[in-house]
């Protein structure tokens, strides 16, 4: 039986003896035991080698899969970040000062002559815009959480009259996404801000550093679910529609949805020109409506009434 201990330089007789020594020379029983041991050990070695090979292959495959997923994700992130991140940063840089400005002392009503023309307001409201609304003292904090509401809906598509029935219908429509369809030109400021962390280098560094496929897939899912399309729309907005709720009179009763009589500032800013197109201050008071309507839609009906006031003010400015 050949053995690795035999060298080519060995005399033939010595080589034979080395083979005999390695092959075992005991009695039949001892030889059988030796063969059995050898068989078991050989099987163990084969199993060990197979296991190690399997582990190596699986590890290698997992590593390749990890790298593939990582490369794909990084490519997507880089691709999005290349265009979207500068846009988001740019819009934030434009919006933030206006938020701070509207939080300050009211600067007086103003309606730009551009809006005084017949249909100018509707054309302006047709441009891509951002909508933010918040309390006076915390406008910057409330702005990202803002959603288009009955005010936006009524501004874009005003009801035919100021009856409780009409306003109530608009308020109800603003509670559904279908009803808000006419206001789809107004993007959420929050959508732009929420994707920003995913576009920054820190996120890409996390993706690059993660050695666990499951963790990498979680990062991928986070990126997949991010409102990138909304963010892009927000980033490309040309106008900013601001509604600032000033504190109301402390003694007035509050409705179920928190609405109560209070002054409201409304502003429309042309972000491309960085100028105020419209700035008005009006008061809202839900008390004119029936208790039943107030109980359900006090804020929506007030918003709609406010929108009608704004449109009336623009009309009056002609």
């Amino acid at each position: 039986m050949p053995t690795l201990l035999v060298t080519r330089k060995m005399p033939r007789e010595l080589a034979e003896r080395v083979r005999a020594s390695v092959g075992g020379q005991g009695d039949r029983r001892a030889r059988r035991r030796s063969r059995l041991t050898a068989l078991v050990r050989f099987a163990l070695v084969v199993l060990l080698v197979a296991a190690v090979t399997q582990i190596v292959l699986v590890t290698r495959r997992a590593r390749l899969e990890l790298e593939r997923v990582r490369a794909t994700l990084l490519e997507r992130v880089r691709s999005e970040a290349a265009t979207l991140e500068p846009e988001v940063r740019r819009v934030r840089a434009r919006v933030e000062p206006w938020l701070m400005r509207f939080e300050g002392a009211y600067e007086g009503d103003r309606i730009s002559p551009e809006l005084a023309h017949e249909g100018a307001l509707d054309r302006a409201l047709g441009r891509p815009s951002l909508y933010v609304r918040g309390a006076l003292s915390r406008l910057s904090a409330d702005a990202p959480e803002s959603y288009p509401d009955a005010f936006v809906l009524c501004l874009v598509k005003p009801p035919g009259d100021r009856t409780e029935k009409s306003l109530r219908a608009m308020a109800r429509a603003a509670a559904t996404s279908r009803g808000l369809e006419p206001a789809r030109g107004f993007a959420r400021y929050g959508d732009a801000l929420v994707v920003l962390p995913l576009l920054e280098p820190g996120f890409r560094a996390r993706v690059s550093a993660t050695g666990d496929l499951a963790a990498l897939e979680l990062l991928g899912q986070a990126f997949d679910h991010a409102p990138l399309a909304s963010a892009r729309r927000a980033a490309r907005a040309e106008q900013l529609l601001i509604v600032v709720d000033e504190p109301g009179a402390g003694s007035a009763p509050s409705e179920l949805d928190g609405e109560r009589p209070h002054p409201v500032r409304v502003g429309l800013v042309d972000l491309t020109k960085n100028e105020v197109l419209l700035r008005l201050r009006r008061s809202v008071d839900p008390s004119w409506a029936s208790p039943a309507a107030r109980a359900q839609h006090a804020r929506g009906m007030d918003g709609c009434m406010l929108a009608l006031d704004v449109r009336a003010a623009v009309r009056d400015a002609r």
Binding site: L4, T7, M10, V18, A38, F42
Partner: protein, 548 residues
Amino acid sequence: MTDAGSLVPDLLHPAPACRLDRERTRVALELAFAGGPASALFEEALSTASLAPSRWEPGCFAGDLFLTRFVAGCLKLRIGTAELAPSVPQLCRLLGNPPAERSVVEFRRAVLGELASTPALRSALEQLYLHLARLKTLLENPEGIQDFDPQRRQLDVLAALKEVIERAATGFGGSGTGLARLTEYGRRVRESEPYRSLSDLLRYDENMATLDLRVGIGADGRIRGLSITAVEEDRQNVFSLPAWRRWLAKVELFARGYRMSDGELMARLIDAVFSGVAHELIALIQLHRDLEFYLGALGFRDAARAAGLEMCLPELVEASEPRELIGLYNPLLLMSGIQPVPCDLRTRTMTTTVLVTGPNSGGKTRLLQSVGLAQLLAQSGLFIPARAGKVALASALLVSLIQVASAEQAEGRLGMELIRIRDLFERLSPGAMVLLDELCSGTNPSEGEEIFELVVEKLSRLEPQAFITTHFLAFAARLEQEQKYDSLAFLQVELEQGSPTYQFAPGVASTSLAGQAAERLGVTGEQLEALVERSLARDRGASSGHRS
């Protein structure tokens, strides 16, 4: 064509042969090499070894000649300042069965003579023996002293074997006797493949690779750094394997059921090499005993010379020629630290029956021991304890010196004596040597003399070499006067101013000096009377004490 002497370095027989049970010894050797119990490996192998044909029966003389004590005390190996004990059972066996053929005796005498006359050969033989003894110790590993590293022990065994072969091959080139077989054997083995493999393995063990180191010494004299400047592997060695192949070989061994280690790798190679040279080791076991045989004889001669005594290889003559033992002495006395007094012994022919008479403690029994041991040694081909001598080979040796009473004996003293005589004649063959001490001393002289004469008469027909001591002085004197038997000769202990000189002269002694012996041992009339008086006085004292 391979000479038989080169196959087995047999130093005891003209026709060389391995006299051990080869198969049994081989198995025992392999077991011993592997580390199994083998403390009596050599003894057991030699105890069943065949010897040259012998007609002697050790039971007829070994006890009376104190053979075991003689071998243990006299045949010590004296090498340099060291005094080594031989294997007593094996040498007793050899001496107790001397060869029947004269050619074997002559062969041994030639070897011993050459060793005695050529110091260089003796020195070479002593060195060979020392290495063989080391090999024996390593193999038998008597106290398990190397059990902690069995592989090192195995390599030491192989190294010792190599040294033995080298010594055998190179130390006996000028020999013209059987010693030349050592050279033939050594050279044959040295040129064989197994020996070359053994040498390669030992070189591989000692020098698988060489590292050249550069040692940096700081200003304070301390070592500051070591760096390896070169590494050189002995690639020419047949056992040399690249590192990767050694590793794979270990994996192979593991898969085959062995341990996965460098040690196991070496163990397989050692095993392969040993199986190639194991059969040569069998011959060395026999050689170890042969060397003790000769070196023991030489050591005996050294001890005798140190005591101012001579030893010689006697001239071997026919039985019809005169006997001459000049300066004969008793080696058992020398062994006991007593300075023996040499004497000269001459008889007309070897077959003369010698009646020895003389006083007690005059040296008669010692003389018989000396003659018996001299015959035994001469017959074995060794030096005899005499300055010069002529000895005829005897067909047997029958010695009866000691009569010890035992609880089991069925007969009285006369009966035992008669049994001794009957036994003697049952074993006696023509040409044997007979040594009888105080024949027929166990009965009244008149009847004892009749039996004595009967023994002498019948002995003469077998022409033995007989030495008989007796205190039947009147009877011996009558036989001398009558000259009735031609083969009878008479020796008496010489006296000087009434004391024995331990020399022997022709004739029959006139006295046994029993009175002197009795006085020396306190058995005179006055001394016995004093003892009787003391006993009576003690008895009287005891009686009066009881009455009071």
